[in-house]
Structure formats: C-alpha cells, structure tokens
C-alpha cells in the first residue's frame, strides 16, 4: 500500500516503552520468528545500560507507564540484570525471554530488586508446544527441557512466569494444548499458572515456514473508522533499538516503522501500511500483558479531561 493513502494513528500517550535490548541475537533459531533472530543475526545489536538509562529518563518525563524488554534473547545481553534492576527504579518491567539461559543467581538478585521497588517484574517465557515433540520443531532440537528448567528457576525464585505461546497448532488441538500448558506449569510448582497465546505473524522466518502477508492484506482508512484504535500497539507504544526508535515492536525490520534517532523524534503518527498491522487490528492488545491490555471490547467513553 502507498504510505500516503494508508491509515494513520496518532500516539495518544506513551504508555509502554519497549527496548530491543537483545537486538536480533538469540541462542535459538525459531522457525516462526518474525524478525528471524539467531546466533548469527546481528542486524540489531544489544542495547547498553547507558542507552537504556537515557531512555528511561526521557520516557519518564513523558509519563510512561511501563517498560518491556525483548530481543533476540534479552539475557544474552551481559548487562541485562543491571538493566532490569535500574528499570525497576522507574516503573514496572516485563521481559520476553526464551527461558533457556536464565541463572538462579540472576533471578534471586532480580527478585530482591522487585521486592525493593514496589513495581512488578514480569517474565514472559516463550514456548510453542507443551511437549518436546510439539515445541522442538519450532524452537529447535533440545530446547523443550531447557525452557522447562527456566520456568522452574523462575518459580523457585518466587516469580509467576507468563507462559507465552504462538498459536502454531490446529484449531481442534487448541483446548487440549492449553490444558497441557497448564499442567506443565503446575508440574514445575507454579500454583497460579498464567498463559498468553499469540497469533502467528507472517513476517521474518514465518514467511518461509508458512507464508507472508499478501500485498493486498493491508488496512484501509475505512476499516479504521469507528475502530477503537487504543487496541493498536502503535497508539500508545514505541520501541528503542540500537538503530533508533521504531513505531512497533513487530516492525523493526520495516523502513516505514522507523521514526527517528530519539524518542522525541518518534512521537508522530504511526502509518499502518504493513501487513502485520492487520494482525494487530484483528487481535488487539497483542503485545501487552493481560494486566495492561485494554481488552477486545474497550469502552469508548470514560472520564476525560474537562
């Protein structure tokens, strides 16, 4: 779609600031990864504590509500524990990790930091099947027991991980799969299991595993009319990478999503010109934690400034 005719969404307020803290570097090479992360993908690099710190300060002046950390695998970043500890002095933090490189001593340090801060530190652990047979074809041979061990370490440290799975199974398998995920969490001692299911994004490696978005799969201005745009991540979020600030955590490889070198450069309208915008539009509240999601049927009224 021509960018000039694509629908636009203003940033209502910077509720969430994301950090591509692990760049595109990952110890796994998942076959559905929407930015094709791997041990060899260095197109985006790690963010340093100093860089993160600068954005924490800037975003706090804008009244940011919470921070999310993603990659790649965030815990390949040698400063990750220090970054999370510092972040918890500013606000709540969530880290999206594959769980395979976590260490007991890191988690104990982070549990202490969370306790001191008063804010939540959430861990979203990615897994794509409740067994090695279903998970490993996506996340790689031998990854399943390592993910389970990561879940166990988190639970032992006192965290309640949010098991996060991309829906790569058939519709008829859905209920049984969710049930097995619940059992898996209970088996590692998590008595309050939490699960987040994501749709696949037809980007990156997933384009090869299944297929990409067709060029005609784009949002129109008409489709946005009457739509509660607060469901869209770009309506209230931005993401910091080592190459500048982007409008959407899903679209850092799209030129159209680049918004500038600094946060203040990146507060302009989002242009919904990518195929992935249709997935965000369809599912809503895609990337946020359930505690921050506005739900599929957000109220349109509500108290506003008089």
């Amino acid at each position: 779609m021509d960018k000039a005719t694509a629908p636009r969404v203003p940033l209502s307020h910077l509720d969430e600031l994301w950090f591509q803290v692990g760049g595109t570097r990952c110890n796994l090479t998942c076959s559905h990864c929407f930015i094709s992360c791997s041990p060899h993908n260095k197109s985006f690099d790690f963010l340093s504590l100093a860089t993160v710190e600068r954005y924490l300060q800037e975003a706090s002046k804008l009244g940011v509500r919470e921070f999310y950390f993603t990659g790649g695998e965030p815990f390949l970043n040698v400063e990750m524990v220090a970054i999370l500890k510092r972040t918890l002095e500013f606000g709540p933090a969530t880290v999206l990790t594959n769980g395979t490189v976590l260490r007991k001593e890191w988690l104990e340090e982070l549990a202490e930091a969370e306790k001191r801060s008063g804010y939540s530190l959430e861990f979203r652990i990615s897994i794509d099947g409740p067994t090695a047979e279903t998970n490993d074809p996506i996340r790689g041979e031998g990854s399943f027991p390592r993910i389970v061990e990561g879940l166990r370490l988190l639970v032992d440290a006192g965290f309640l991980p949010i098991l996060t799975a991309t829906r790569v199974w058939k519709d008829e398998e859905h209920n049984a799969t969710v049930e097995q995920f619940l059992e898996l969490l209970l088996s590692v001692g998590c008595r309050q299991p939490r699960i987040k299911i994501l749709p696949t994004l037809q980007l990156g490696a997933e384009e090869t595993r299944t297929q990409g978005y067709s060029p005609s799969t784009r949002l129109s201005v008409e489709e946005l009319e009457g739509f509660d745009t607060r469901q869209l991540v770009c309506e209230h979020s931005r993401i910091v990478t080592d190459r500048g600030v982007y409008v959407c955590p899903l679209l850092i490889e799209s030129r159209s999503a680049y918004h500038g070198a600094t946060l203040s450069d990146a507060l302009g309208d989002a242009v919904l010109s990518e195929g992935a915008c249709t997935t965000c539009y369809q599912y809503g509240a895609l990337c946020a934690n359930p505690s921050s999601a506005l739900g599929q049927k957000g109220i349109t009224g509500g108290g506003a400034a008089s």
């Binding site: 804008l62 709540p92 008063g118 957000g298 108290g303 506003a304 400034a305 008089s306």
Partner: protein, 276 residues
C-alpha cells in the same frame, strides 16, 4: 490526547466538609453498602461518594439503589453501570481469558436481568467523573482512570511518572478511582495524591472477609487518608447468593476473602498475594 466522546462531568464547585467517604465498586453488595454508609457517617463523613459499579457479582442488584438514595451517595458511572444502563452485551471489563469471561458473563447477565428499567435509566445517566474543590485541592473522582472508565490501574504496574502525568493532564491534585477493587495510594509531587479506594463489593483478595473503603478528612489543614476495613454480614450475603444460584466460586470469595475469578488481569505481584 484521547478524549472520551461520552464524558459527563459533574462539578460540585467548592465543598466545605471536614470529612468525606469514597466507596468503590458495590457489586450488588447492599449489606456492605448499608454498613459502610452508617460506618462512614459515624466517623464524621458528611458526604458519601461511590466511584461506580453498583451491580455485579452479588445478589439482588435493585437493593442497592434505595440505599444510595436514602444516604444521598453521589455516584460516578462505572463500566458495569454503563453496560447495564445501556443494555450492552457484556460488562466491558475486557477479559481475554475464557474462564474469566465465562464467569464475568454469568455475573453480567444476572445483574442486567435483575435491574429494573428505572434503575437502568438512572445508571445510564450517571456522570463519568465528579470534580470539586476541597481545602484548596482539585479533586477528581473517576472509575477506572481519569482517561478511561475501564482502565485498570494496579499499584504494581502504574509508574509514579504515569500517575504524575494523569494528575497533570486531568488537572487533579487528588485523583481517586476503584476499578481494580484493590486499595492503594501513591503520594505524588507537590502534595498530590493518587488513590484507589478499593471496593465494597468483594474482599481485597487477602484472605479476610472484610471489604474496604477510603475516608478522607482534613486535620490541622492537612488531608488525611484512611483505608477503613469493614466487616458486614458476609454469611448472609453468601446464603443469598446461593439462593440466587450464583456461582459457587463467587460465594467462596465472599466466605474466604480470596478471589477465584477474573484473575488473569492481575499483575504478578498482586496475583501472588492471593491464593488462586
């Protein structure tokens, strides 16, 4: 800035009371409401406010309204009130978890079908926010957040920077909300305060059967906030819920003080404090 198309602001101007009470969601718990009105008046409150969600969860929703009128409780519209008042499909809490949605729908369908047309009209017309000037402070009462009726403001996921932004943007020195049903307070710069007043409708997921409300008073020129635990006839409420065939899970919450449903939206920190 997103401005709700349906914003209705009630401005009371300047008030001179020494003590006011702020009640959170009632969720049809008329027994706790009656106790709270009398308790707050006994503690010196001369104005009573409710921050919305009159119905939900409990039995006999219509029993709440005569008490609100009798005690002259000044009310904000919650998402439940908007839904029931306008006959919407669901409560607009926006749950994504299937189990949470199932229980929320049972509660909503019961409440909608047991609320009279007259009370539904009253709910529909409630203001979405109340403002007044008190002891030189601009007070804003809302349901979820100053910007959105069904926004959850949890203590552990609301940065102080964000609360400062809301107070500044929505021109409030004291902002109070309820939606999550868990009471907490954050002191902000310049003497500003952000308060979640808790809820009268169900316990605070802490293993106690009492419910909570907020009492604000002016003492020696300063504002004092007290969260008041309120014991009420919870066993009677549980029996009435059983008679109305409301879910056993809801009744367990009334009897034990632990939440059993609508848990997915809790941040990890708040979730860990509960049993389920």
């Amino acid at each position: 800035m997103t401005k709700g198309a349906a914003t209705r602001s009630l401005n009371l101007g300047k008030i001179n009371d020494c003590c006011i009470a702020l009640f959170g969601g009632i969720y049809s718990n008329y027994l706790a409401l009656e106790k709270a009105c009398n308790d707050a008046k006994g503690r010196g409150a001369t104005k009573l406010f409710c921050l919305g969600d009159m119905g939900a969860f409990g039995p006999h929703p219509d029993r709440v309204f005569p008490l609100l009128k009798q005690h002259q409780v000044i009310c904000v519209q919650g998402n439940y009130d908007d839904s029931v008042g306008n006959g919407r499909e669901d409560c607009q809490c926006g749950y994504l978890d299937e189990r949470d949605n199932r229980f929320a729908q049972i509660s909503y369908d019961y409440t909608l079908s047991h609320t009279s047309a007259e009370n539904r009209t009253w709910l529909k017309e409630l203001p979405t926010e109340i403002r007044f000037l008190w002891n030189g402070k601009r007070v804003l009462l809302c349901h979820g957040s100053p910007r959105r009726t069904n926004e959850f403001l949890w203590e552990s996921t609301s940065s102080t920077a964000f609360l400062e932004y809301l107070a500044q943007e929505y021109q409030a020195d004291i902002a109070a909300c309820t939606h999550t049903g868990l009471h907490w307070e954050r002191k902000l710069t310049g003497g500003k305060r952000f308060i979640n007043v808790g809820a009268l409708g169900r316990p605070a997921n802490d293993g106690q059967t009492c419910v909570w409300y907020a009492l604000l008073s002016i003492q020696s020129g300063d504002l004092k906030l007290e969260f008041v635990p309120l014991a009420y006839e919870h066993e009677q409420l549980a029996c009435e819920m059983e008679a109305e065939r409301l879910p056993a899970e809801f009744i367990e919450t009334v009897r034990t003080g632990w939440w059993t449903s609508c848990l997915e939206v809790l941040p990890g920190r708040e979730r860990k404090q509960g049993k389920f």
